[in-house]
């Protein structure tokens, strides 16, 4: 029953195209995610939209790479840098974008193509379950 935490975490790396929000990622993305949380306040959203770079200057502990990815709305990159989608949702919601719109940008598909894929049953799990076992 009792599973070793190292084995537990190692299994996650075997899933294609997926970055599980482990504590290692949470620590790396701490300031990105705290920044995103700040956009839950309307006055902060207004300041952010009025001058994004100036607002980012208020977050000295974020790396430049993280700031650039935020400015570019590069969500896939932000996940690599420790961002979490539920935190980042405050960023795309502030832009007036939905989860579907934001998530589709990570897939190499247009929003329309992605939306149609979802309407026709979504992405098949075939071959996407395990890198090692390829099923």
């Amino acid at each position: 029953m009792k599973q070793n935490i190292h084995e537990y975490l190692a299994e996650f790396d075997d899933i294609p195209g997926t970055r599980v929000y482990t504590t290692a990622r949470a620590r790396k993305g701490y300031w990105v995610n705290q920044f995103a949380m700040s956009l839950m306040k309307d006055e902060n959203r207004k300041r952010w939209l009025a001058d994004e770079k100036a607002y980012l200057d208020e977050w000295p502990k974020m790396t430049q790479e993280q700031k650039d990815a935020l400015l570019a709305r590069d969500y896939d990159k932000l996940l690599d840098l420790g961002g979490n989608i539920y935190f980042l949702a405050k960023v795309f919601s502030t832009d007036g974008k939905s989860y579907l719109q934001a998530v589709s940008t990570m897939t190499g598909m247009s929003v329309e193509e992605y939306r149609n894929m979802m309407l026709s049953g979504g992405r098949s799990p075939e071959g996407l379950r395990s890198k090692k076992k390829g099923y």
Binding site: T22, D76, V103, M106, M118, P125, L128, R129, S130
Partner: protein, 282 residues
């Protein structure tokens, strides 16, 4: 005595909340998604079914809790909770009124049963909690029952195991059954089913696996409580892990249940929408 009269599960996709709030529930895209809740909406308001209290198991999506505070199980004990501003202003839904006496009773009872609860007296509640209320109750001026929020961490790993969730459900049942007031209490499990909100694998839907999950939720929960997290992630996408919360509902219903209603629809935004209504038969 209070008793658990039914269990309901449902996905809690934020776009569903937006469709309700913007009046889009009858357009081509949303109509089939909402249609599957018509049965439940009618059933739940019949006097013999209408709950006095719903214990609403959900996860906070970085709204009340940020990276400074990650409780595994947080039970809301305040008198009321406001809808959270998730970046586009709070949802225009009624305030959530708690049955604080029962909430505190459950908190105390579960801690005595060796569940390491966190008691929360101040928090806003996000789409994870309010979307299921909209699905089951529509757009009333006030929610027709009291609601006890039970927030489960499924964002930062590890979330609690399925087994731990199931056992918490059992402890909640014991707590409810030892509460002196005569109350009909429902337990709702929310989140899921298949969805992945990230990367090149985004949009993954595994209908076969989801349907087996629904089958076993009714008939074979013993399989589900032993399911490791990695299976949820592999089979149902990175956010499919939310399904562990359904096992709290299932644990609270006791060994045998009757399935009253089921709805499965692909897709609501990025997600396979799953909904089931169960009644304990013991």
């Amino acid at each position: 005595m209070a008793r658990i009269t039914a269990g309901i599960t449902s996905s809690h996709v934020p776009a569903i909340g937006a469709a309700v709030d913007l009046g889009n529930t009858q357009d081509d895209y949303w109509k089939p998604a909402f249609a599957g809740f018509d049965w439940t909406k009618e059933w739940i308001m019949k006097p013999e079914n209408k709950p006095d209290v719903v214990i609403l198991v959900y996860n906070d999506h970085a709204s009340a809790f940020d990276m400074n505070l990650i409780p595994t199980f947080a039970i809301g004990c305040a008198d009321e909770f406001q809808p959270a501003d998730e970046g586009w202003g709070p949802r225009p839904v009624p305030v959530v009124k708690n049955h604080a006496d029962l909430a505190w009773h459950i908190a105390q009872s579960c801690i005595l049963d060796e569940f390491d609860m966190t008691i929360i007296n101040k928090m806003d509640v996000d789409h994870g909690l309010t979307v299921p209320l909209s699905l089951m109750f529509g757009q009333p001026d006030a929610w027709p029952c009291k609601i006890i929020p039970l927030a489960v961490n499924v964002v930062t790993y590890p979330p609690p195991s399925g087994n731990r969730c199931y056992n918490l459900g059992k402890a909640i049942r014991d707590a409810v059954e030892s509460f002196p007031e005569d109350l009909k209490v429902q337990v709702w499990g929310t989140g899921g089913m298949s969805h992945q909100l990230q990367g090149t694998r985004a949009g993954l839907i595994n209908a076969e696996w989801d349907k087996k999950f629904l089958d076993d939720l009714t008939a074979n929960p013993e399989r589900l409580r032993k399911m490791p997290h990695i299976e949820y992630l592999r089979e149902a996408g990175s956010e499919g892990i939310e399904l562990v919360m359904w096992l709290i509902m299932r644990g609270a219903l006791g060994k045998d249940v009757r399935e009253l209603h089921r709805h499965y629809h692909v897709a609501a935004s990025n997600t396979a929408l799953g909904h089931i209504v169960l009644e304990p038969t013991e």
